[in-house]
Amino acid sequence: MKLLKTLAMGAALTAGAGAATAQGIDDPTRAEYYDAFKGKTVAYVPVAMGFDLTEGWAMGLRDALEPLGVTFDIRDPNWNTAAGAQAITSLIDEKPDVIVVHNPDVQSYARLLKKAEDAGIYVVQVNMRSSYSTSAFIGADYVGMGEAIGQRLVDLCSPSNGASGKVAITQGVLTAAASAYQMKGINNVLEKHPEIQLVSNQAADWDSTKARNIAATVIQQHPDLCAITGFWDVMDVGTAAAIKDSGKDVYLLTQGGGNQSACDGLENGTYDEVVVYNVPGQARDMANMIKQLMQLNPEPGSMKTTLFTQLEFLTKDNMKPGSCWSLPGQ
């Protein structure tokens, strides 16, 4: 009888233990994590929609945030700084939780971004920063990038390597962070290399037609031009066309978000070299920053994070399948 009892107890214990293993343990942070995003709004103000960078960021942000229940709202100023300022001013009234800003220049939005933070909105700046630092900046280290590009120009065009030493720069909008900071970096290097002659340094305002005109003129004036560096691959389609038209062998060093069009450009010889800041990576960084802000809830402006994107110098030779990314339907 006693044995029977013991056996029964043993069986009961075993059964109980089996039940315990089937239950598992609930992740204690899970509910909090999802609650942190309920009903939140992220507004996105790029300089314009309709090109690889801004579309790529929008896609990445939407993919990361919308499944969490975050409303993702795009305001498109369409290359109009005043309209962008209007959009941000409107947003300050509408009070989304986060504004993601892509600054057309370092100055125009600065005071508005401060106002937005004062109004309790987190401001995340992407790729082109404003002179006012906000909760987060995700983008290329343009000064560092400028220095690297400067060094590349020196390596490529130095008369000691048998080249002419003549280089040209096609900037975007002069006051945009991508132009102003990068010029600083390039100048840092070129100052030490007087043998490199900067024959042209002009602004094409991110416009490929202007870039083409500038490049065509420069090549006519300096048929022995060694290299042109442009500050954006989409704009430098124009530069490439001018080089092709001229029939001269001018090295085109451009830069961009690493969209498939850049790899295609390298493949077919439009560009010789592209400095790539990875747009999907930047989008992921931004999404992560936003997720962190929403969970930690710091006072807006109290915490300022800068995440510089890793750069990659792509050429036809080092390019691999998968070096570039595509938008859906591309």
Binding site: G50, D76, S90, D105, L174, T175, A180
Partner: protein
């Protein structure tokens, strides 16, 4: 009455057709369409965007509106003078970069920066002005070129200074106040724009330079002919425009502080859309600050709302372009067709059914005769259109003429005449008051008094404004005839409030109660409308009881009596409902009866047409003015009726030698003096059996 006619009658009674024309004739109708568009746009986006009408949203809109409306007003000023300024966007950008450069690089104090920047904008305007105004180049192409040149200068300045601007910080609160500050909760830029709008409004509506601008835009040649320095005026509009654009740029610089290359790009299209949408004519001569404000608010809401709605790239420009296209289409079509439309719809006939006309053959009291054959003629060929005639206590004869004089013919033979007074308008009805002053209704001017010495004095040219009248009926358009009550009050008729003096025949086509009787009290100087909705009220004559007067309604062919005092005060009684012709002036006769002039006789066709308002409307719209069917005013007569409305006698000029059409007659010492508004003589007829010493002044005011 047939059912169909009853329906027609009720249809014209129920629907006030004439209001459409009156609304279209208003000056504010030019602003009505833009305002409607504004309301529609605000309602649409108000419904689409939550919190659109919230305080913060409105404040945000207002701040942007301040800068934008300055640009629109700048463009409007140029457009009013007949030009166009496409360089507003570039000048705005120039203002922005110049202001920022002066603030940061040059480090000037902000008031100096504002002044210098505006001077810079004015200089751009001066270039435009010299080219367009003095060298008479095409405004469109010239300012298009300035747009490009100024933009290029901006780009060059940007290349040189933008990095310096971007890297420096302006430490002046007053500077930021321009773009960001508020006064009583309203952004400073809005105050500034409002002040500029008010100044522009005052200049355009109240000052000589403003009128010169409007006149130049309306008709350059005419403006030149009246001595306006057209070239200088045009030049100055561009200078003003440039200065205002630069001022707007200063506000923008203060608000954003960004030396971006895209500043003001495409702004000229937005400003042009706003200006045209507000109703400022591209052809010039028509525009106002109010229109600029309405247009700028509309476009501001459109642009801002689309950004807020997050529509795709390009949609904004596309919509703006479509709106501009629509606005230009409305502007062109409206300007071209407004007068056509107005002339088509203004004449709004209504249903009128006259009682059957009595016969003019024996034994009717109206039977045709030749009793006017024996008239003596006064002033034959020397007097042009004596609408009314009157004689004073000294037997002198007074009559108005077409050129605005009152002519006096001297007794006893009336061969000598003089201009008694020049009144400037067409003298119509006349009456002597107790002091012997001659009171005259002057068409288009009002009620005037002429003293014995011939001094002209205005008694009144306005009455109380009706609350529900669309047209401004406080002004007197066609004061027609008057008479004076024993207490000195003057009752006078205004034949129509819808037409000017020379258009009086058109009123007959409407046969609506467009006229009224007005009372002017010289004791208090007040003027009040007494009776409204009368069908072309014309002659007025005090009854012998001193408490009432008779009045004629010409197109209604009836005589009524109105009591202004006594136990029946306020009553109106129709005395003769069915005259065979169109009554004009009424005057007293010596035996206690009344003389009445019939200016023309009724015809069956016109009587029938009055019952067919649709027919008359089609006629007014489709055929030329001078081919319309009018009442016959070529044959008339004089009749005499008593207090009960019984017709005592009728005097005709069957052959029409002297008095085919009669508008007035006066009895004086046994004679009847006859006038006609389109006649060139005054008739004098010896009356048999009438009092040979009776005079009008004595009958009214007693013998002295």
């Amino acid at each position: 009455m047939a059912l169909s006619e009853t329906i027609v009658r009720w249809r014209y009674r129920a629907i006030p057709d004439h209001l459409l024309g009156e609304v279209l004739a208003k000056r504010w109708i030019d602003n009505a369409i833009p305002l409607l568009i504004l309301v529609a746009v605000a309602a649409t986006f108000g419904a689409l965007i939550p919190g659109f009408f919230g305080m913060s949203s409105i404040a945000n809109l207002m701040r942007q509106w301040g800068e934008f409306s300055l640009l629109v007003m700048a463009l409007m000023i140029v457009m009013v003078a007949g030009g166009i300024d496409l360089s507003v966007g570039s000048t705005f950008a120039l203002g922005n970069i110049v202001a920022l450069t002066l603030m940061t690089v040059a480090g000037l104090p902000w008031p100096l920066v504002v002044v210098l920047t505006m001077a810079c904008g004015a200089a751009v305007g001066l270039v435009n002005g010299l080219l367009v105004g003095y060298l008479r180049l095409r405004a469109f192409l010239t300012t298009l070129v300035t747009l490009i040149i100024v933009r290029a200068i901006v780009d060059m300045l940007l290349l040189k200074y933008s990095v310096a601007i971007a890297s420096s910080f302006i430490d002046a609160d007053a500077w930021y106040f321009l773009g960001e500050g508020t006064v009583f909760g309203v952004p400073f830029s809005v105050w500034l724009a409002a002040i500029v709008a008010v100044v522009i409004h005052i200049v355009f509506s109240r000052t000589r330079p403003g009128w010169a601008v409007l006149a130049t835009g309306g008709s350059r040649r005419s403006a030149h002919n009246v001595g306006i320095p057209v070239r200088r005026v045009i030049c100055m509009t561009y200078v003003t425009s440039g200065a205002l654009c630069a001022l707007s740029g200063v506000l923008f610089a203060s608000r954003l502080g960004g030396a971006g290359a895209d500043t003001g790009v495409g702004l000229e299209i937005a400003a042009l859309t706003a200006a045209v949408l507000g109703g400022n004519s591209l052809g010039g001569g028509r525009g106002s600050a109010a229109k600029a404000v309405i247009g700028s608010v509309t476009v501001m809401i459109l642009v801002n709302s689309l950004v807020r709605l997050g529509v795709n790239s390009g949609a904004n420009s596309l919509l703006l372009g479509l709106v501009l296209l629509g606005a230009v289409a409305i502007d062109v079509r409206w300007l071209k067709n407004r007068h056509k439309l107005l002339s088509k719809v203004y004449v709004a006939p209504t249903y009128a059914r006259l009682p059957a006309a009595p016969a003019t053959t024996a034994p009717s009291p109206y039977a045709v005769n030749d009793r006017l054959n024996g008239v003596e003629l006064i002033g034959l060929g020397e007097i042009d259109g004596p609408e009314d005639v009157i004689l004073d206590a000294d037997d002198n004869l007074y009559a108005g003429n077409r050129v605005g004089d009152i002519i006096r013919f001297f007794a006893p033979d009336y061969t000598r005449q003089e201009v008694f007074a020049h009144v400037g308008g067409r003298p119509l009805g006349m009456a002597f008051d107790r002091e012997g002053s001659l009171l005259v209704c002057i068409g288009g001017m009002g009620l005037y008094a002429v003293s014995k010495a011939g001094e002209v004095r205005k008694l009144t040219d306005e009455t109380n404004r009706s609350l529900l009248s669309v047209i401004d009926d406080s002004r007197l358009r066609l004061a027609d005839d008057l008479d004076i009550a024993p207490d000195g009050r003057v009752f006078f008729s205004e034949a129509t409030t819808r037409y000017e003096m020379h258009e009086w025949p058109v009123d007959s086509l409407e046969s609506r109660g467009n006229g009224r009787i007005i009372c002017h009290d010289p004791a208090t100087g007040t003027t009040r409308t007494v009776l409204k909705h009368l069908v072309f009220p014309n002659g007025i004559c005090m009854a012998h009881d001193g408490e009432s007067f008779y009045f004629a309604e010409t197109w209604a062919c009836r005589i009524s009596r109105y009591w202004f005092a006594g136990p029946r005060s306020g009553e109106v009684e129709v005395v003769i409902p069915d005259l065979p012709g169109y009554p004009d002036n009424i005057n007293r006769a010596s035996d206690g009866t009344y003389w009445l002039a019939l200016v023309g006789m009724r015809t069956p066709t016109m009587d029938l047409a009055l019952r067919r308002p649709g027919f008359r409307k089609r006629m007014a719209r489709r055929i030329a003015f001078d081919e319309w069917l009018y009442p016959n005013i070529n044959t008339g007569c004089v009749i005499r009726f008593d207090d009960t409305g019984r017709v005592v006698e009728t005097l005709w000029d069957r052959k029409g030698d002297n008095h085919p059409m009669i508008t007035s007659m006066r009895e004086h010492k046994g004679h009847l003096y006859i006038g006609g508004i389109s006649n060139n003589r005054i008739g004098r007829l010896k009356l048999d059996g009438m009092d040979a010493v009776w005079t009008g002044p004595a009958a009214y005011w007693g013998s002295k």
